[in-house]
Each structure stands twice: as structure tokens, then as C-alpha cells.
Amino acid sequence: MSAVDFEILLQQILNGLVLGSVYALVALGYTMVYGVLGLINFAHGEVVMIGALSTLSAARLLQSVLPGLPGPIVLLLSTLAAIPVCMALGYTIERVAYRPLRFAPRLAPLITAIGVSILLQNIAMVVWGRSYHSFPAYVSTEPFQVFGATMTPVQVVIIVVAMAIMAGLMFLVHRTKLGRAMRATAENQSVAGLMGVNINAIISITFVIGSALAAVAGVMVAANYSIAHYYMGFVLGLKAFTAAVLGGIGNLGGAVAGGLLLGLIESLGAGYIGDLTGGFMGSNYQDVFAFFVLIMVLVFRPSGLMGERVAERA
């Protein structure tokens, strides 16, 4: 392999990790909700979008009040403002749209989820308009070289923050009382209730935590591509859902692995498809890879890589 080939490969891997970190954060929201409710919350991508747009609004407001504030501080404070907005949104979605359907046939909440998704898109369109908003470079997007590949400070921040959040979540779920209650609820709601676990509270908390992750992921996407709009959550949500299925829906480690893997597959696929097809297909086929992966997983290994059981007892 020549030096240039290596640099290109490294570049694709780095891009894949950045993309994958975002997918993983969003996929965790899907998989956590699926774990406790057995429901695919298709409105989750919209929470990501609202996270990005409310951060943008908060940042604009902040800069008009305090014009001299450094970019990274602006971004940090506005993200911290957007997180509670998304948490409240996640709580409300569950309380209003899903809880009344807790014991309804499975199709009902699924259709409702799609409805909530469309509703949120339209609300966002009314609030923020149909146009694309440029997302200012609060954290520098000035590239630097790593072994011949280029990276931006934003990308470094994305990877570091995503990893830290995921480590924190793993700790919460596996080492705390709250996490134990969440896992117990995921395995058997009625028995967990019998042990004094407040099931409704745990389900609400699951939505709230997933929505907080979504808010952060939304800011990451907007900062990375320097753009935000009311429709950005749709494809991102579908891809993160794919990542969750790839890893094994319901499995937290699976969502992280699935997210990173999907990011790498997309990035490497888009990077090399031109060479592989002799220029017949180009990097604009990037989106196709995610859904190709989804179909392959559903056909050959529906339980995903870390195959969580569907129904099982000890």
C-alpha cells in the first residue's frame, strides 16, 4: 500500500468514526426505549433535529446579548439550554402519545410514532422555517493533519464527547440503582414492579435520557456539516435505527458497536465505491450503504450482531 493509499484509508476511517459516534448516540436512544417498551420510537430523529435547532436559537440569542463570548462557550451554553428542551420533549412524547397505548396492539404505538414524527417536523417547520440554517463554526473547523489525513477540531470534540457520554451511560446502566431498575424493567416489567420498581417513572426516565443524548447528537451533526434544518432528523433517525438493529436492538453495547460500524461502512463504502465500480458509482451512494446493511441484517441476522434475545426467561 502506498503512502497516499494509506492516507486515504485513514481519512475514511476518521470520517467514519465521527459519523459513527453520532449514529451511536442516536441509536442508544432507539435501543433504550425498545429495551423497556418494545417500541420503535420513530419520533426520536425529530428530537435530534429539535436539539440542533434549539441550540442554534439559543446561540443566536446568547450572542446578541453577549456579543464577545468565545464560540466554544456559546456552543456549550446553548447545548446545555437545548438538552432540557429535548428532555421535556421526550417526556411529553411518551406521556401523551405512547403511555395511553401501553397495552394496545403493537401496531398502534408504531403508527403513532410515525405520526408524532411528522407532527414534530411540521412544528419545527413553523418555528424555524423551511430554509436551511447555516450553523456557525463555534468550535473551529480549521483542518489539521493527522498522519496525512485531515481532521477538524469539531470532529475531535465530537468523538471525545460521544465516547465520554457513552461511557457515562454504560456506568449509569450497569453500576447504579437506577440502571438496575432500567435493566430489570426491560427484562420483565411486572416482576420489576413487584420488587418496588416504579415502572412508569423508569420508562419516563428512559425517554428523558435518550432525548438528552439526541440533543447532543443533533448539535454534533449541525456543527460537523455547518447546517441545520427541520428535515435533518429524518434520514439521520433512520440510519441510527439501522445502527441499533445492526448491533441488536435492545442491547446498549450493540447500539454503540452498530453505530460505529455503520459509520465506518458508510465512509469506507462511499470512499471506495468509485474505484470498485470503475467510476460507475460515486460517493453519492453513501446513503445506500446504510439501508443495504439494514436489509442484509434483517434477512440474515434479524437479532443483530450482539443478538439480544427476543423473549426468554431464566
Binding site: 449509569l172 440502571g179 411486572s190 420489576a192 434475545r309
Partner: protein, 256 residues
């Protein structure tokens, strides 16, 4: 002194089937009370109504003189009733000690904020939960399997783990649904020792069991259910000779 648990004319219907009809019984403090009867007699239904998984259609339970909450399992647990299941229902992917730790939930306070902030109070509580859970594993004889996933335990060990998890809720009444089912003679003998120890520690035991030898040897009193009705109640030796009971079992056997 009034009974610890009193069932007053409890009835439960599923569609056209009367699963329980006018079932009344009283369980005294400190006794081991057996509930027996042919398959489908309504024993497990009585457990489900008692522990709040089902709502009774009529009647009520008095626990220590006060009415039990209806249809709210975690409040029944808080009141001091714990149970195990005929078809074992552990948290299969969690370790043995974690299963027991979940059982402590009903007796501990730390909420979401504490779990996230991990202040000194919630960390101390977490340590206490862990320590108590290890004690309970030791008590039921599973100290060596603490970090094993519940799904990987042997059948007998899973039954013991369910008992440990139930004890973690600090029950005054422990309701066991066929704890000896699927156990060999040695396991049953050690289960009997465990149940006697639990009673000696002041926990009243309500026991559904098919193993006649175990019931006769262990229970102070038994009630017999047949087609949702209580047909007999009393010391095992007397109930065993009761013609109605013999008829219910033999009649069932002849029809089978």
C-alpha cells in the same frame, strides 16, 4: 391476635370460568400454610390476585388488619408480601447478586437525582444494598454464584435465587409457588431446611406445593382448593383423611 393475612370471600372470573369463588382463609403469624389442590384449582390465581397482578372481582385481603392495595404490585410488596413464581421469572441477563439487589428496591430511597449525582448518601445506600444482597445469597446457599448470570444457574439454584430476591423485599409473608417443582430429593430436602430457617427468622410462609411429602412434613395447616373453591382447611394429617379432599384428587385422577 388477628391473622396476618385474611382473605375474605375472594372471587375471580376469567370470561365464563370461575377461577376463584368465595375463597376465605386466614394465615396466622409464624406459620407455614400450605395451599394444595389439583391442577387448575386456582392456587396460582389466588397468588396473582393477592400480589396485585390481577384485580379480584369480589372480596378483599386484609394484611395485618389493613386492606391490601388492589392491582398495585409494588404497593403490595411495600406492605410486606413477596412471592416467587411457578415458572421461574428471574432477570435472566442480570447476575445473581443484581437480581437480589433489585429486590431491595422497595426498601430503599435513592431516586434518580441521587443515582446520577452519586452523593455520599446514595453511595452508602448502594453499599448497604450490595452487602445485604450478598448476605441473602449466602443465606440461600448461593454465595459462590454471585456473579453468575441468572440464566446460567441450575434449576434448583434459580429457585433459591428467586427466594433470595423475594426475601430482599423484607416480607412478613413469603408466598412460594411450587418451590420444589423440578427438584430432586436432595434439593427438596435442603429447600425444606431453608424454609424452616425462614420461618424461624419470623417470616410467615404461604406455600403452593404438589410434593405431598414436603407439604405434610412442613406445613402447620393446609387449605385445599378445587375448581376455585376451598373444600378443606386444617392440619395436614386431618386434611389428608378428609373424604372431600380424597374425592377431589381421585375424581380428578379418574377424569384425567
Amino acid at each position: 391476635m388477628s391473622a396476618l393475612l385474611e382473605a375474605r370471600s375472594v372471587g375471580k372470573r376469567f370470561g365464563g370460568l370461575d377461577a376463584l369463588m368465595q375463597v376465605s382463609l386466614g394465615i396466622e403469624r409464624g406459620e407455614i400454610y400450605g395451599l394444595i389442590g389439583p391442577n387448575g384449582a386456582g392456587k396460582t390465581t389466588l397468588f396473582n390476585v393477592l400480589t396485585g397482578l390481577y384485580r379480584p372481582d369480589e372480596g378483599e385481603f386484609l394484611f395485618d388488619g389493613a386492606p391490601l392495595p388492589v392491582g398495585e404490585p409494588h404497593r403490595v410488596a411495600a406492605a410486606g408480601i413477596a412471592r416467587t413464581f411457578q415458572n421461574i421469572r428471574l432477570f435472566a441477563n442480570m447476575s445473581a447478586v443484581e437480581n437480589v439487589m433489585v429486590g431491595r428496591h422497595v426498601r430503599t430511597r435513592t431516586g434518580v437525582i441521587g443515582a446520577v449525582l452519586r452523593d455520599s448518601g446514595s453511595r452508602a445506600e448502594e453499599r448497604a444494598i450490595h452487602a445485604r444482597s450478598l448476605e441473602l445469597l449466602e443465606y440461600v446457599g448461593l454465595a459462590g454464584r454471585r456473579d453468575e448470570s441468572a440464566r446460567n444457574l441450575s434449576y434448583g439454584d434459580q429457585r433459591r435465587l428467586e427466594i433470595a430476591r423475594a426475601l430482599a423485599t423484607e416480607p412478613r409473608l413469603l408466598a412460594l409457588d411450587e418451590p420444589a417443582a423440578g427438584m430432586n430429593a436432595t434439593e427438596t430436602a435442603s429447600l425444606r431446611g431453608l424454609l424452616e430457617a425462614i420461618r424461624a427468622d419470623g417470616v410467615t410462609v404461604l406455600l403452593i406445593e404438589h410434593d405431598v411429602k414436603l407439604v405434610m412434613g412442613l406445613c402447620d395447616r393446609v387449605a385445599v382448593l378445587d375448581y376455585g373453591r376451598k373444600i378443606a382447611e386444617g392440619p395436614p394429617a386431618r386434611v389428608q383423611r378428609d373424604p372431600t379432599v380424597i374425592e377431589a384428587y381421585l375424581g380428578g385422577a379418574l377424569h384425567a
